[in-house]
Structures are given as structure tokens and as C-alpha cells.
């Protein structure tokens, strides 16, 4: 082989070796403290495996604080909630995971239904209002996510906004609505509609929306950006996207949240939550993590870091948002949102989904 080839191969090999050797210097993993912070459980030396359907950019800092406060050593797998749920179902009782942190209740419900979640202590469950946890006690909500109508402050006035989410089927809204039918939150909302108003009413509503030719977005962030860009006037989304984009783009960002009246299907509040895996070999540590996530520090982070609703009493949400109990979520039991399959079938039937 020619010398230039050898030289090049050697260069590549040396660079890779150098990077691998240098990585301990540049590695950013926090070293666990030798003593736990006062008030927090002492988990020094305990290794916990967490599967998180919530993005690292959202909850990474929070989990690092848990490590620093308790001395635990967390191994976190970040992914999509539904894909991680599929992984957990595939792993079954041989899963190495201890705690599952989910973006929405649907994935938690599926795992609970398969018997993979261990029941949580009543004291933990009681920290959260009854509507935001599993009635059977397998999982608990950690933060509230309210459905809203994000609307363009440049092109609309408050008076133009619909009184109920069902009014969006009015032909006056043709071409002006955006949504993300593949998004779990919207699918949860449609499930809630099916539960509250019945299958036929839900189908009628969906047909009405499809007749208004909604613009389809892949995700909530893109949908809200679509309002700002002028592609649509209103989108159905979760409340915190507007808050985050306001933070990123400044207060002049031309999109605002509109909360539907209490009891309206559009006023659904979903939760991100967590459950302890029954297969875990460190159940006390798993319970400690979930308990800590319901503690004051974590719940305050929910409000200021992610702009979601803290669920524990005594911790206030962002002052620009209406109070959680003022929203009036129509569903008492989030477990009723378990029939995601039926919702997907309905969405496919009306042509909103493949």
C-alpha cells in the first residue's frame, strides 16, 4: 500500500485514539457528591436506570440536580415516549429500567395495562390531585399540559376566537387552522372528545375540521411557528410551546394562548408523568426519584424551566398562565384516554392520518 495511504490511516487512527483517550478530561458527567444534601434521601452509590420520553434538553438539568442532591448515579435513556414504551413492553420483566418518565399518560396507561408498573405509595399519589394520576395507583402525573388554541395576535382579536373547540368546524375557519394529527397530545384530545361527546360526535367534529382543510404540521413547535409565520391563524396545541417561543424570540412574538372555557373538551389538561417499573431491583430508589420529582425544587423547575403546570399544591405556575384549577379540565380520569388505538383508527377513517 502506498505510503500516503498508510500515513492517512495512521492519522485517522491516531485522532480517534486521541479523542477516546482525552474523553475523560472533557467528559461532562457530574460526579456524585459524597454526602447527600439535607432533606433529600441519601442514595449515594445507588445506580438508577431511567427511561425518559421527555427530551434531555427539557429534563436533563433536573435529573442532574437529583444526582447532586442525593448522590445517586443516574443512567438515562432519552427517546420518544411511545417508542420507549414499546421497548419496555418488549423487554417485559427483564427490563433494566427502574423508572419510566413519560411525556403523556397514554404510554403509562399501556404499561400499566401490561402489568409492568409497580404500585406507588399512597403518600406519593396523594400529593397530586386525583384527576392527574392513575386511579389504580400505577403512575403519577408530574406536570400539567393544557390544550389551548394558539392564535395570531397580528391578524386576530380576542373577540374573533371561537367560544368552544367545536366551533372550529365552522366554514369561516376554512384554511386558517393548523394541527398535528400524529402528535400524541392531539390524539389524547380526540380520545377525550370520544369519551365526553361520543364516537359519532367526535367523527362529526373531525369531518368538520377536515372539511376546513387544516394545515398539517409534524409537531407542536412547528405548528406554533406556522402561526407566527402567517401560514395559519390558529392551531390546536399545548400551552407551553407559546411560552417557550416567547422566551426564545422575545415578547414581541406574535402568538398567544387561548384557553377554552371550563368543561369544554378543548380545555383538556394532560400530564407528563412517571411510574416505577415492577422489574426494578431498587424499588426504594425508584420511589425516591419519583417522590423527589414531586418535591418543591423539581416542581418549581416545571414552572420556570419548562413552563408547564406544577401539580403539587403550593407551587405556582408561570404568572402569565391561568391557575390550573381555573382551567376546568373536562376529564376526571386520565385513564379513560387509554383507547388510543380507537382514536388512531378514527383519524385514519376520516383521512387525517395514514
Amino acid at each position: 500500500m502506498s505510503s500516503s495511504f498508510r500515513a492517512r490511516t495512521a492519522l485517522i487512527g491516531a485522532s480517534v485514539a486521541l479523542l477516546i483517550a482525552a474523553s475523560p478530561i472533557v467528559a461532562q458527567s457530574p460526579s456524585p457528591m459524597t454526602s447527600a444534601a439535607p432533606g433529600a434521601p441519601d442514595l449515594t452509590g445507588t445506580a438508577l436506570t431511567v427511561y425518559s420520553g421527555r427530551s434531555e434538553s427539557l429534563v436533563g438539568p433536573l435529573l442532574e440536580r437529583f444526582e447532586a442532591a442525593t448522590g445517586a448515579d443516574l443512567d438515562v435513556r432519552y427517546g420518544d415516549s411511545a417508542e420507549l414504551a414499546a421497548l419496555l413492553l418488549e423487554e417485559g420483566d427483564r427490563s433494566p429500567a427502574d423508572v419510566f418518565f413519560s411525556q403523556d399518560a397514554g404510554a403509562l396507561g399501556a404499561l400499566a395495562g401490561a402489568g409492568l408498573l409497580a404500585p406507588l405509595a399512597q403518600a406519593t399519589l396523594d400529593q397530586v390531585p386525583p384527576g392527574f394520576r392513575d386511579p389504580a395507583g400505577s403512575w403519577v402525573g408530574l406536570s400539567g399540559r393544557a390544550r389551548v388554541l394558539a392564535w395570531s395576535t397580528e391578524r386576530l382579536a380576542e373577540a374573533d376566537l371561537p367560544a368552544s373547540v367545536t366551533d372550529l368546524t365552522d366554514p369561516a375557519w376554512k384554511g386558517r387552522i393548523g394541527w398535528a394529527p400524529t402528535n400524541a397530545s392531539l390524539q389524547s384530545f380526540v380520545t377525550a372528545l370520544r369519551v365526553l361527546a361520543g364516537e359519532d360526535a367526535a367523527r362529526t367534529w373531525l369531518d368538520g375540521i377536515m372539511a376546513n382543510e387544516p394545515v398539517v404540521y409534524e409537531g407542536n413547535a412547528q405548528a406554533v411557528e406556522g402561526v407566527a409565520a402567517g401560514e395559519v391563524d390558529v392551531v390546536l396545541t399545548n400551552h407551553y410551546y407559546v411560552m417557550r417561543l416567547l422566551a426564545e424570540n422575545g415578547d414581541a412574538y406574535p402568538v398567544a394562548n387561548h384557553f377554552f372555557p371550563a368543561g369544554d373538551p378543548g380545555a383538556l389538561v394532560n400530564v407528563a408523568g412517571a411510574g416505577a417499573l415492577a422489574s426494578s431491583d431498587t424499588p426504594e430508589a425508584s420511589a425516591a426519584l419519583i417522590g423527589w420529582l414531586l418535591g418543591p425544587e423539581a416542581q418549581a423547575y416545571v414552572a420556570t424551566g419548562t413552563f408547564e403546570y406544577p401539580l403539587v399544591a403550593g407551587v405556582a405556575a408561570d404568572p402569565r398562565l391561568p391557575a390550573l384549577d381555573a382551567i376546568g379540565s373536562p376529564l376526571v380520569d386520565l385513564g379513560q384516554l387509554a383507547d388510543l388505538q380507537g382514536t388512531v383508527a378514527l383519524l385514519q377513517e376520516v383521512g387525517a392520518l395514514d
Binding site: R8, V16, E90, R94, A184, A221, G230, V344, D354
Partner: protein, 535 residues
Amino acid sequence: MTNVPAVQRSRLRAPSARRPPLPLLAVAVGVGVLAALPIAYLVVRALGGDVGTLGLLFRARTVELVVSTLALGLGVGAGAILLGVPLAWVTVRTDLPGRRLWSVLVIAPLAVPSYLLAFAIVGALGPRGWVGDLLAPFGVDGLPSIYGAFGALLVLTLATTPYVVLATGAALRRLDPTTEEVARSLGDGPMAAARTAMVPVLVPAVGAGALLAMLYAVSDFGAISILRYDSLARAIHTQYRSTFDRAGAAALALLLIAIAMVLVWAEARIRRRAALRQPQGARRPPARVALGRWRIPALVLCAVVACLSLVLPVVTVAIWLVRGLGEGTAVTVDLVPLRDSLVLGGSSALLAIVVALPLAWLIVQVRGRTGALVERMLYVVYAIPGIALALAVVFFTLNVVPLLYQSLIALVVAVSVRYLVQPTGALRSPMLQVGPRTLEAARSLGQGTTGVVRTIVLPLLRPGILAGAALVFLSALKELPLTLLVAPTGFSTLATKVWDAAREGFFTQAAVPAALLLVVSSVSVALLMRGEDHA
């Protein structure tokens, strides 16, 4: 065009009609078993469902999806050929100014993940894209919608053209000018002589590249979800994410595999008619074709392709970074994902090449049934949707080798097997030039088998080895679903970091790993092409 008579063709077969050497067979069988495992998993899962699962396969909607998936695959394959062959020819055989730079630039899109490319193109050509804003004063009312079939075809063609360019370029570089000169001396004009000499060598190469492009297109999810094109891959994803049932998803995945098998079979039929060895003449570079007045159009073609498939994504990432920094968003430069990406990429490339060499030998030199079967299975594994493959790996490691569950070894093996078609395809063309006469001559001069391999075979195969290793490296860098579900917990690559930040809209945080990914990939592409030129 002169046809090679049948008697000549049979004489070009390997003199050994005996059974293939046992070590090669062992490697092939091992790879074949690994490749069969995901299909077995999907069958197990699909059979575990109820009657409703079967009903899923026979909905009218599913038939529509099959049609749209096939259309996408064939369309992207055709597009990649139409774009890739001229690009390869223009950068290898002509006197195009700056052709070394262009040959790197047209391959460089391999460095860009498909969803990033889709983001960038939608950002430019979408409803509020800046291209529309630029053209508005000229009375252009609105661009054709970037969403749907047009966008999917455009983005996936741009993303996969490098496969055809690489394969075709490698074949053109290895081309022996003797055949062409002989044809000229026998009276063919320059165009006819070029066709006679080039077509038999190019067809297998272009076929391999185009097949990669087609299979990539039918299995891609990231780009088509952004471009809102309805294909089977998207339906499979929706099934996994909505039903938690896995049986319906497995059934649809098997349907996708069936489509992939059809495409593989079709390509094999076309290729069988044209596989020929190169005569073992002197290896000297063929004469360069002067472009003359075609110089400008050729340059324009190269520039447009490079702009759309490389410059746009780079500029998009730069905008994310600059915009966020301007708003005061904190940006951290974390090198651990870079290390993990390099470890994954390097190990996968190494393993893939080590396995691909004996496999390619079996396929090309021995030409037995085992090799052909294994190659087809590898193409199918390449086309399986990532999440299905990941769950298959989970299933088998947990049940068969629990010690390897969530280990780096399992991930590297999975990634290598997934992309093993790339090096075996890249080795096909150079392998065709290792003829039995050369081997016999080397042996008659006293070289043992290892000596022959070291001094004759490997140098001849070097361009294919480099190309194959680079392709696997790049694919491993961009890989997402296997890394998310199969890697050791806590192992994260640049690709997973980009995805994690971008899905929540934190584009500024996504920009740094995206930039690092582009830089590392581009460097490896540049090194690859320099090796090609010096060969």
C-alpha cells in the same frame, strides 16, 4: 454495441466450480443468520396479533400505501440514476475545472442526515421559504408545494444520489481503456466505443447504487414525515407509536420487506445480463473527454446539486446557531457525543469491512447460491424500518445472549449488519477485476495464498475497501433508531443529540452537535475521495 457471445461469457466464470472455501461459507452463513433474525422477529410478532392485524393488511388504505411506497422507491431510484451517472462521469472522465473539489462536493450530502436535509429544503422552498420571497418581485406567485410527492422525491433523490455517484465513479476510475481502444480500432465511433466499453462495467455499479437509493427511500421516515408524504414507513411508525401492539406494525413491516424483496429481485435480473469481468490489461487512466461548450452546463449541474444538498443544510445549521446566540441562548459544546459517534462509526466500519471482504469474494468470485442469497438478505435488512430492527435486536439479545443486551458490541454488530450492503456493493466492481488469470500468475510466481491476498488482491480492492468503510462510517454517524433503543443506556451520539433538541424546538441547542456531525462526516468524505484520486 457489440454483445459478448455466450461461450465467452461462460469462460469468464471462475475456474473453480468446486464448493466454496469453508471459512468464506462460514462467514456467509453467520451473516445470513443474523440478517434473518429481524425477519423472524417480525413474523413472530405479526402472528401474535389477532384477526384485526390481518385485516390491516387488506385495507384499501394499505394498498394505497403500497402503491405510494413503490412509486417513491422507483422514482428516487430513477432520479438518483439520472442525476448520479452524469455527475460521476463529469467529475471522473472529463476535464471539468475543479473536478477534484466537485467530486467531493457531490458525495458530501452523505454527511447530512435526511431529516436535516428535509428541514433545510422546506425552509428554503417551503411556503414561507426565502426562495419564494426572492422570486416574488419577479411575479412568481408561489412555488409548487414542497410537501408531498414532489418534496419527498426531491429530498430523497438528493440524499441518495451520492450512492450512485460513488458506485459509478469507482467503476469509471477502474475502467481499463483497452476495451474502448480496441473497439475504436475495430471501427466504432467514439460514442459507440465508449458505450461498448463502459456499459457492461457500469450497469452492475449503477444498479448497486440505485438499489441502495431505492431501498433507502422506501424505508426512510425522518425526511418523509417532515415532507408529509404518506408511505408505509410512516404508517409503520404511527402503528408503533399509537397502538403499543406491535403486531399490526410488524405486519406492515413485513409488507415493506416484501416490496424491498421485489426491488432486489428486479435489480438482480437486470444485473445478471450485464455482469462481466474486465480484461486484465494495463491499468492506465483513460483519456479525458474535453467538455468544450458543455463545460458551463456541467458546472451548473454540479453547483445546483451541491447547493441544494450540501450548502442549504450547512447554512440552516449556521442560522440556528447564530440566531440562538444572538438571542443570548447558552450553548454548550459537549465532546462526549462526538467521541461516542466516532467509536460507533469507526467500530461499525471496521467490522463491516472485515465481514464484507470474504462475503464479496463469495458473491463475485465464487458466484455460488449462498453468496447471492446472503446478499439479498442484506439488502432486505437495509430496508427494514429502524424501530422494527431495533426491537428485533432487543428481542434476540434478551432471549439468546442476555449478557450482550444493551452492550456496545450488540449495537456495533446491529449497525454493521444493517449497512453491510454498502461495502459489499462497493467491493463488487473492484472485485470483478480480480481475475483468475492474475491469481494464477501470482501463484505461479511463488506467492502463497496470503501473499497473493496481500500483494495483489487487497491493493486492487483498496478503492472498494475505502469506499465501503467510509459509507458504513457515515451511515453509522447518522443512525438514529438503533442508537436510541439498543445502545447502552447513556450512550448518545451526535445524531441523537440533534434529534433530542430539535424535536422540542430547541434548534440552537441542536446546532452544535449538528455542526460537529457535518464536520466529521465531511472530513471522512474528503479523505475518501482523496484516496480515490491517488489510487
